[in-house]
């Protein structure tokens, strides 16, 4: 079985201006949404109290919300969790009460709706950890980009490819954040892990295409760069699609069978995989091309210094 039985000849580079525009619109849209709407931050970031409860019958989320509000909890957020009988309750932090009292209060409130309700989990989360995580994640990403840029510049002998790779790596998580912001899907720690995985996938794709570009440039020094890039992308296309299909099988399984805890995680991965495929073609390679990438950059012609050694 094969997706493409002969080499494809899609003119990817010719249409890059169109894709630049699309990317620019998506990026600006993501950033604007991120700046104005922000993210629907999970309890991991905001701090507060998170509780899970399972009812014996289908539960009315609004009723739970009203009851909790009436019990004195400010702005309770209630979502169904793992089917129609489970709810996840998120509450603003309350330093004046300890977890035990809060748990009791939640239990009492929910018992009024269903006497045999089971409160399974009450977590108290400090917001400071969220802040710490933000700082450490920011630094980690900064150093990751820096070191990867350096590694690519070293292995491929040109900053043009480094720049392309770094922009592609920034592109994908920004898009994921943008979509999470627009849809207001809950952003929690597993999603952070997914975004890290997205960065990994995106890098992997970009470098595989770069590797082919390097190989093609070496054997076709006289060919125009955009032709070489098109050839490289076409030649790796069946691998790109095959790998994506295979990873998607796992991600789709997680999305539909992994339960609510992994929902956000698998959504982020799915978006990231699609974005990563696109960015490895239209961002990393195209940017390098527009920065004037030629065979000369990757394989400088050897200087004729040997003459000096002749007798």
């Amino acid at each position: 079985m094969e997706f493409f039985s002969s080499e494809t000849k899609f003119p990817f580079m010719a249409t890059r201006k169109v894709w630049y525009t699309l990317s620019a619109i998506l990026m600006i849209g993501s950033i604007v949404s991120f700046a104005t709407r922000g993210l629907n931050l999970g309890i991991d970031f905001t701090g507060g109290i998170s509780a899970a409860a399972s009812f014996t019958q289908t539960v009315d989320v609004d009723a739970v919300r009203t009851k909790l509000a009436a019990a004195g909890f400010k702005d309770p957020q209630v979502n169904t969790f793992g089917g129609s009988r489970g709810v996840n309750v998120r509450l603003a932090p309350d330093p004046s009460q300890d977890a035990k009292t809060i748990r009791q209060k939640i239990e009492d409130t929910l018992k009024a709706i269903d006497p045999s309700v089971q409160v399974q989990q009450v977590e108290v989360v400090g917001p400071q950890v969220g802040n710490e995580l933000k700082t450490s994640a920011t630094w980690a990403l900064f150093f990751t980009l820096l070191l990867i840029g350096m590694y690519i510049a070293f292995r491929f002998h040109t900053w043009r490819l480094s720049l392309g790779a770094i922009l592609a790596v920034i592109h994908d998580p920004v898009l994921v954040l943008g979509i999470f912001s627009v849809t207001q899907t809950q952003f929690d720690l597993p999603v952070v892990a997914a975004i890290l995985a997205v960065i990994g996938y995106s890098l992997n794709d970009t470098v595989v295409v770069f590797d082919r570009i390097r190989e093609r440039l070496e054997s076709n020094r006289r060919l125009a760069s955009d032709v070489v890039l098109d050839q490289s992308i076409n030649q790796t296309l069946s691998r790109t699609i095959m790998t994506k299909v295979v990873t998607s099988i796992v991600v789709v399984a997680l999305l539909f069978l992994g339960g609510p805890v992994l929902r956000g995680f698998s959504e982020a991965l799915m978006i990231g995989i699609i974005a990563g495929t696109y960015s490895s073609i239209y961002i990393s390679s195209a940017i390098a091309l527009d920065c004037g990438l030629t065979a000369e950059h990757v394989f400088p012609s050897e200087k004729k210094a040997a003459i000096d050694h002749l007798p």
């Binding site: 989990q121 630094w139 690519i152 590797d211």
Partner: protein, 623 residues
């Protein structure tokens, strides 16, 4: 003809056998278990285990298996119902003689346990338990340290009859207290003062200043000394925390430093958080002081001034304010043991001091027979209140006189504290025994993670993962036929290898770790896809099958290497800079890249060579 070096085959076989061995304990799963230890920390023996089991049998609790491990009895049960029944029975029958901890024991054969082969532990998010994060007040510990220097300096100057105006702990260029400042009157000679101070200030750089009236000596700790002191404080807190966790009898606890000045404590299976948090986070130390019996405490309360050389304590458990002498006879960190006992005067804590404190105690009791001595419990805590929407924290030191008694006889390093309630005696003994924690620590985060939700998480996640992987296996076999089957074997080997590494490192598996595994599987699949697509390309060019295989592996190598190295860079950076879940992800990713490189490059090559290498008249490849 394709050839592959024999040593590479041997290496692959050895690695696979070893990793299968290390990964194997994970297959067996685990049983609910109870760990039982003696409250006085002496080792339990096989007869004790037999006695407990026979008692449980009488109580109609069926024990699946029992054995002694590290001086503790492990009981295993068929299900959690029996486990709970057993715990209640033991608690009721043996009371405070034993402490119990609910845990899980691997179902793997004893041989594995003997060889130290264990399954990888599950993270708290998958298994349930208590997660605590403490902030250690490192600045406070440096200030305390300097306080000690200041006291030594005062003593040294007094002993040498050198006059001084003031000795204070000060800030000298920096954002925290890092120096001791001694102000001298004009008539004091600076150099004689300095000589007198050489002993207490050994190893500290001192400078002198001229003041309008007199001069000052400033002894400043270097940055390295401050760091050393802070590290020491953290280490001490970790040790104390470990002791306290052990006192609680939790199995497989994790106490580790996080970042510069934080300590994270993970207690799997613990659900009664309030009690645990109360004991773990308590910053308490003890001081033994003589009562000042020549002055009236009532008078001091009325005037608001304590007489010279004494200190007034209004917060007491003895029902009246009390004046205590400033000299401290002994402190809590000089304790070597503390146990709760029953005496004629009611519950008591029996104490034992180290030799230095014992000497001081002997001297004091000999000189002060029939006088009274008091015990002061010092507790530190941080209270956070909201002022105008901002969180303001205030450190509170609570000094409480918990006991005051007449010295009945001369004693040195062994004596009792009486006049306590039963529960109090036990808690005080536990706190004292597990080390007085003098460096203030403050809770940053406290989370109880329910085991039922954890169970649901892991079941669903693992099932989805298995189904997804099965889908990948089937798809690879259809798409690449024989080569696809090779890829499947290689992927399986990769998962075994990764499991083995994680089990060996005792790295706990959590949800972000599962994310790491998914990325790793993706990368491993990609490496195989890169190779096979290359082989197909070569075949399409009309190259002979065996040459195509060779060219495929060779040409795909640079792509695989570069893409894995870049991802590896990301993994390592996240491992170094990340905390918590990011780190968990990074560990799995980094190890996973190593295993997938090994399996895809070496394992795959070896299998393909076995399959096609020897065939002389090969015309087609099943790809």
């Amino acid at each position: 003809m394709l050839e592959y070096a024999r040593w590479k085959y041997i290496l692959i076989v050895v690695v696979l056998l070893l990793s299968t061995l290390f990964a194997l304990p994970n297959v067996f799963g685990d049983d609910p278990a109870i760990q039982i230890g003696r409250a006085d920390h002496t080792n339990l023996k096989a007869d004790d285990a037999a006695a407990i089991v026979s008692y449980l049998k009488d109580q109609k609790v069926s024990v699946d298996k029992s054995y002694v491990e590290d001086g503790k009895v492990m009981l295993r049960f068929v299900d959690t119902t029996e486990q709970f029944k057993a715990r209640d029975a033991i608690k009721d029958h043996y009371k405070e003689q034993y402490f119990t901890a609910m845990s899980f024991a691997s179902r793997a054969p004893d041989l594995f346990v003997k060889w130290g082969l264990r399954p990888m532990p599950l993270g708290l998010d998958l298994r349930g338990g208590l997660y605590l994060l403490y902030q250690v007040d490192v600045k406070g510990s440096v200030s305390q340290y300097l306080e000690g220097y200041a006291q030594d300096a005062r003593r040294a100057l007094s002993v040498s009859n050198i006059q001084f105006k003031d000795v204070t702990v000060a800030v000298n260029g920096g954002d925290q207290q890092n120096a001791v400042r001694i102000v001298l009157p004009p008539e004091t000679d600076v150099s004689t003062a300095r000589t007198a101070l050489t002993q207490p200030f050994q190893g500290i750089s001192t400078t002198t200043e001229s003041l309008p009236s007199g001069s000052a000596i400033v002894a400043t700790l270097s940055t390295a000394q401050i760091k050393e002191r802070q590290d020491y404080a953290i280490q001490q807190v970790i040790t104390t925390m470990r002791n306290r966790v052990n006192e609680l009898g939790v199995s497989e606890p994790i106490v580790q430093r996080q970042g510069v000045d934080r300590i994270n404590v993970q207690l799997p299976g613990v659900q009664n958080s309030a009690e645990v948090v109360n004991i773990l986070g308590k910053v308490a130390s003890l001081e033994f002081r003589l009562e000042d019996m020549s002055n009236s405490a009532q008078e001091a309360v009325a005037t608001g001034h304590a007489p010279l050389g004494s200190k007034l304590y209004t917060h007491t458990r003895i029902g009246r304010p009390i004046l205590l002498k400033r000299e401290i006879i002994a402190t809590g960190d000089q304790l070597t043991s503390a146990t709760s006992t029953q005496t004629q005067e009611g519950p008591a804590v029996s104490l034992r001091l180290d030799s230095r404190a014992g000497d001081a105690m002997l001297k004091t009791t000999r000189a002060n027979l029939r006088k009274r001595m008091a015990v002061v419990l010092i507790e530190k805590r941080r209270e956070t209140t909201k002022v105008d929407g901002k969180e303001v924290s205030k450190d509170i030191t609570d000094e409480q006189v918990i006991n005051d008694a007449t010295i009945q006889g001369i004693f040195s390093n062994q004596f009792n504290i009486t006049g306590l309630q039963a529960g109090e005696a036990r808690e005080l003994a536990l706190l004292l025994r597990s080390g007085s924690l003098s460096t203030p620590i403050y809770p940053v985060e406290e989370r109880v993670i329910g085991p039922s939700v954890g169970k649901e998480n892991i079941d669903k996640g693992v099932n989805a993962l298995i189904i997804g992987m099965a889908g990948v296996f089937v798809f690879m076999a259809i798409y690449y036929r024989a080569f696809g089957l090779v890829a499947d074997l290689v992927l399986l080997a990769n998962v075994v290898l990764l499991t083995a590494l994680l089990s060996m490192m005792r790295a706990s598996l959590s949800l972000p770790g599962i994310a790491g595994i998914i990325l790793t599987v993706g990368m491993a699949v990609d490496a195989n896809v890169l190779i096979y697509e290359r082989i197909r390309e070569e075949v399409r060019k009309g190259v002979s099958p065996q040459a195509a295989i060779r060219a495929g592996f060779e040409k795909a190598f640079s792509a695989i290497a570069d893409s894995n190295v870049t991802t590896l860079i990301a993994g390592v950076v996240l491992w170094v800079f990340g905390t918590g879940p990011i780190r968990g992800f990074a560990i799995v990713l980094t190890l996973g890249i190593a295993t997938s490189l090994f399996t895809a490059l070496m394992g795959s090559r070896a299998l393909v060579t076995l399959l096609y290498g020897g065939k002389r008249k090969l015309t087609r490849l099943s790809i």
